[in-house]
């Protein structure tokens, strides 16, 4: 039952995470990670999504350039918050510090909205 729930949680994350464009999902899970999902010991390692959302939102609001009233879970860094590429990298760096794990450069490129940041972090077992 527990593993079924974990599996469903994965599926839910994947569906919400699919963007309009054709690029591959950042959460394409390797078989390894899926297998780990079945294991009892790993089941508790993923952070709760709403907690992640709160922490991500608070890290973004902390950014002086950002108008806090515009920061909601659907906010796009460029189109809603007016952030440029240097800001986006700074935010990724702030998220790495907040959640205690390194986000690889080829994944960082794709994190350009609050939702994508939350989904990525929530699906990463190393996030603290």
């Amino acid at each position: 039952m527990a593993t079924r729930n974990v599996l469903l949680k994965y599926l839910r994350v994947q569906i919400r995470g699919l963007p309009q464009s054709a690029r591959p999902s950042p959460f394409a899970l390797s078989p390894n990670v899926l297998l780990r999902g079945f294991s009892e010991e790993v089941k508790g390692c993923f952070l709760d999504k709403s907690e992640v959302t709160d922490r991500v939102i608070s890290a973004v609001k902390n950014f002086q350039k950002v108008d806090p009233s515009k920061v909601n879970p659907n906010a796009h860094f460029q189109n809603d918050l007016g952030l440029d590429s240097l800001d986006a990298v700074e935010i990724v760096m702030a998220l790495e510090e907040e959640f205690g794990f390194e986000i690889p450069d080829n994944e960082a490129d794709k994190i350009n909205s609050i939702n994508l940041a939350v989904d990525f972090i929530a699906s990463h077992p190393q996030a603290k």
């Binding site: 189109n79 007016g82 240097l86 790495e96 450069d105």
Partner: protein, 335 residues
Amino acid sequence: MILSMHEFNARQIHKARLMMNIYSFGRNLVTASSPLPPVHLPAQKEAHVWYILPDEVKSTSLLNRYLEILSPCEKENIFRMSGEQLKKRALLARALVRTTLARYQMNRQIDPKSLKFWKNIHGKPEVDWQYADDWRMPPLHFNISHTSSLIACGVTVGSPIGIDVEEKQRRLKNDILAFARRYFSPHELEMLAHISDPEIRRREFIKLWTLKEAYVKALGKGFSASPFKTFTIRLRDHMEENIHLPLHMISEVPEIIVESCDDPKDLGGKWQFVLLELAGTHYVAICVEQGKINEGERSIPVNLTLRKTIPFVEDECISKGDAAVVIGGLTRLLG
């Protein structure tokens, strides 16, 4: 008959003064489009940079005029953005690209609205000349960069181009060295770490950031394909005790080169850089392809034409002086 740029400029500025008076009274008496004065294509080893200052564009009728030349898709993207400032910035960026490219006519007037764009596999926009009014155009490449206070568009023929603009006064939220440790190459970190004055270090960081961005944008493969950590941008022949020197320590204008971290000989002289200080407020970095040169051969300077514009209103050619200072890269500023 195509007039020289100078004659056109003189006429345009006169017309511009007239039109600006009209716009400021809120009446749009100019219904027919004021043509964009045609310009000659950039030659090989030449780059044209057109830039606009959003704060100088206030007229609603002019903004509407710009909106008219956009595609339905572009308009939709703009409406989806939040806030007037963001919308205006996005609008000016698209209008700058379309009007700039439309100026390079060979035989007939190109309607900026007729231009179609496509994105390469990595998302870099290119012009689809097949659908333009004049499909015999040579391969014009362009790239755009914007800050809230300046939007720039670079154009070349036959070479990819990358351009990046940053405000000189920009502050980082993170510590500069922590940022450089995470994202820049070891040599670049070392260069920055050896600068003791924090303000000079901050400025050198911004210059380096714009150069790195311009390079990745010229490559056209996105941040993930060329992570910043995998290449070093530095000055050619300026080292002291194995440490690369920063720009501010060099009295003459040095050449800027890029090297792969894995194989320093790999990238060689294929890419060329220009770094400008514009209007005292912005750093502008440009990267163009130069073609392989042999070891020991001197690079040919990039000929750069810089123009400040308010499309349909005024174009101004900016030459060397207070408005534009070349601070890096072998460059000849024309005009």
